[in-house]
Amino acid sequence: MHGRPRKAPTEEEQEASVVKGAKLRSIQAKFFQFHHTNTYTKEALEVNAKLLEMNPEFITGWNYRKLAVQYHLEAAQSDEDSIKSILDEELKVVESALMTNFKSYGAWHHRKWVLNMGHSSTDRELFLLKKFQKLDARNFHAWNYRRFVTALKNIPDEEELQYTTDMIYENFSNYSAWHNRSVLLSRLLKEEVEGYYPKEKVLTEEFEFVRNALFTDPDDQSGWFYHLWLLDQTVKLEHLLVSSWPPNGSNVNVSDYCALSPSLSSISRTLPLILCFSEAVGGINSSTVSVVCESNMDSNLTWTPISVDKSGFARTWLTYLTFSSEPMHPSRNYLVKVSIANSEGIISSAGFCCSNPSHMAFTVCLPSSNTEFDEGPDIERIDWSEENFSSNQLHSENLGLINSFNELTISGGNKKTYETNAKIIADEIAYCRELLSEMDCKIGKLTLARLLLAYDALSSASRGVQDQNMFQYKEILELYHDLMKLDPPHFQYYKDQYSLVFLKQELANEESLLKYCYQYRDSTSLSNNSLCLCLRGLSLSQIGCIEQLLWVQMLDLSNNGIRSIEGLESLQLLCCLNLSNNKICSFSALEPLRLLKSLKVLDISHNEIGAHPIDTRRYLCASPLSHASDWKREEFVVSGPEMTIYWDAFSIFSGLNLRQLSVTGNPIADKKFKLFLCKLLPAMKWLDDEKLR
């Protein structure tokens, strides 16, 4: 099937092929006669062996051999010599089949089956494997079989590690050997086997080892993939609390945010509390996180992971603080302290515990009486035109809330680890630069960009402040720019990374962030905070830095190249979102919005919904296709036949309470679809530019 040249066969060749085919057919027919009559004579076995030699992929042939072996072993009882002779014959048949096709699954499995009987020499197997490795060092069947045999022989991981070292020295381009090395090494590190501790020492040695490969043949990918794994091991330390809303050290007026609570009775004393971690964690609850307030506050908190999947792990966690309804001094600010001290219960999705206590605090200003929040009778339509936004009247209270930069407090021992690992990365950066000075290597440049980002993450964490090095970002952006030109097929990959780093740069500090903050014209449609983060027209293809954006209530991402809004679900305060003129290809891409319960205004006009027959997010959102149990089957079925076409729109919008929605400019947004939307969203006041009812 593979690698045969395209040539019209001559008449002679055709004839010969038919003759050969007839011969194979005849052997097959004979074989089936024996198989279906359970005949295991010497003659029968020979026919079978001939068949497997001609066609090692003939699965039923291998099944038959196992039946024959079982039959003959029963006859042999415990006569060790007979047993050995029977099984040796099997190994010969396998070897002969492998000579025809050394990638035959059936042949390799039969060999394993024989070995598992425990009567065959494992040393001989290792010898055979060496032979196969010489023929093809990338044969994954042989590598799998090797792992099987070494497990049978209880060969220690250190010895096998040495084998990978030998194979790599023979040929640096042996991805299979590098892969095996990574498996063995992670086991040795995890079990803290003697000689493989501390981790930093091992990583330093491995970096040196892989450097040989990279400098010898920088265009071969194998070493670089291994290098990426080492980098990952060096950077991935414990998960940390990276930001929150309200931010550490801020002061919040509770009545400004009560509209955001899910409670229908609009208690004016409820405040969302959002915690954002460096990676997805589980186990956030009232026993692992303590929230204490001077004033009366219900301390029995329910924490929800903000995630589109049902794994129970999320980067962002949400709870609601409810303050007692007793009259309080309106002029006093009450302190709320949040502590993550008992962090053994908090685990990352990889299973690691956090040993890093975090503390933060903010103050709240409570209303003097139980004022009911009233949305007001005449809420205006939000108009996203540029003239409605101004940047010169930002209220000072607003600025305090933009500052979501937390000071990470890392205790002594861990701080040393960050510093040590940052030093390892700094050395790798130097070596990488050296290599790149000699040649233009695509994957070397990519690695340098990743190293610089990693160094930035490690060094700022260890210093305890978000002290971003702006020069570093500039260099990283230049590298991605170069890569877009050097490696055009992967242009979009580099563009996505570029967008992320660009955002990091622009949101790095308060000064830079303020450039993008605008005031929406004063209106009754929003609470006091009509502050908008305006990231329109920046050629962004991806969103990131969500930990810096937890405070955002109004967000303009229009006129970019955004395809995916992964991460946006963390912006739990979001009320108004503009995604017009982007590259959203389906409603399923809007899945994160389902978790934004405060969302009232959404503009997805002028995207590509309905233009693509292939939905790339079909399995990344809840639907009958992904057999997620919370798919509202009953509602869906009852609502009518158009549901089959609009199932994803149904899924996204039915849980939201939108007041204003724009869908025009998407191929799917015809009259029929708009009628469907009106039916689905009875509380909606504006659809496109039309006022409803």
Binding site: G21, N63, N144, R147, S176, S186, P489, R563, Y619, T644
Partner: protein, 313 residues
């Protein structure tokens, strides 16, 4: 850019159905049921499923079923999960899944799950994540996923996840595009894609695109049209397909056509076969090549067939 020679490929497929006596054909007799699935799905994508005799196909196929409930690759061959899935897929194409004794087939499949959640291909115990995929897709199409321990099945697949983000056939085995497709499809269908590091795997997968525009199956290997399916569908399921150059890949697939005699080969100028014809056409469908029916990246069946099963008529 060249064009897809639809009529030639249809003719090629209908011809090989008849030409069964060459050595190349006889040596594939044991996987004929897979061959039927590749041929018929290709025809459906090209809008020509009606050119075959549905009853003839189904009647032959049902004869491949073993008394255990599983299907063999051809009449008289031993049953195996691989052919059982193909049988179910072919019946799905014809909207005739009810021709099966669904409980019998699903019991056969469920009976092959092991204690650690893995699946054996048949009673002889070969374990491979390919079989996890096949079992899960089969039971999902039959709406009998509850017959297996889905959580354990998912955990086993996750245990085969490698440090480069990819998946192998067993724990510790090297990442390979075919295995990756199998694991990602199984995780997709069980709503478990959160176990996949989409950025890490997405990058590993997009690096399969080589200079010629074709895709290989693992680093430093040659490109092959069948990887246009395994790699491409995986990228689509994790929404990272924009990280490859789609136009270049389309051109590579079209260059692998035999425009005179029909059929698609693994590489330009190589011999064609139904396997690569299917993967080439399916790949083009995923790339939204005009005039082709959309194919579902997990079930590898046309989207309208999948929607018919899960969303009703």
């Amino acid at each position: 850019m060249g064009e897809l020679a639809v009529e030639k490929h249809v003719k090629f497929i209908l011809t090989i159905e008849k030409e069964k006596d060459s050595f190349e054909s006889v040596v594939m007799e044991h996987i004929r049921l897979n061959g039927a699935y590749w041929a018929l799905t290709t025809l459906d994508i090209l809008g020509k499923l009606n050119t075959v005799d549905q009853d003839e196909v189904i009647s032959w196929m049902m004869q491949c079923q073993h008394e255990s409930g599983g299907f063999g690759g051809n009449i008289g061959h031993d049953p195996h999960l691989l052919y059982t899935l193909s049988a179910i897929q072919v019946l799905a194409l014809f909207d005739k899944i009810d021709a099966l004794d669904i409980d019998k087939v699903s019991n056969y499949i469920a009976g092959l799950q092991n204690n650690d959640g893995s699946f054996s291909g048949d009673m002889w115990g070969e374990i491979d994540t390919r079989f996890s995929c096949v079992a899960i897709l089969s039971l999902a199409l039959l709406k009998r996923l509850d017959k297996i321990n889905v959580e354990k099945a998912v955990n086993y697949i996750v245990s085969c996840k490698n440090l480069d983000g990819g998946f192998g056939c067993t724990p510790g085995a090297e990442s390979h595009a075919g295995q990756i497709f199998c694991c990602v499809a199984a995780l997709a269908v069980t709503g478990s894609l959160h176990h996949v590091d989409k950025d890490l795997l997405g990058w590993w997968l997009c690096e399969r695109q080589v200079k010629s525009g074709g895709l290989n199956g693992r680093p430093e290997k040659l490109p092959d049209v069948c990887y246009s399916w395994w790699v491409l569908s995986s990228l689509i399921m994790i929404d990272r397909v924009h990280w490859i150059d789609k136009e270049k890949l389309i051109k590579f697939i079209l260059d692998c056509q035999d425009k005179e005699n029909g059929g698609i080969s693994d590489r330009p100028e190589d011999a064609v076969d139904v396997f690569h014809t299917y993967f080439g056409v399916a790949g083009l469908s995923l790339l939204e090549y005009p005039g082709l029916k959309a194919i579902d990246p997990a079930y590898a069946l046309p989207v309208d067939v999948v929607n018919r099963i899960f969303f009703g008529r």
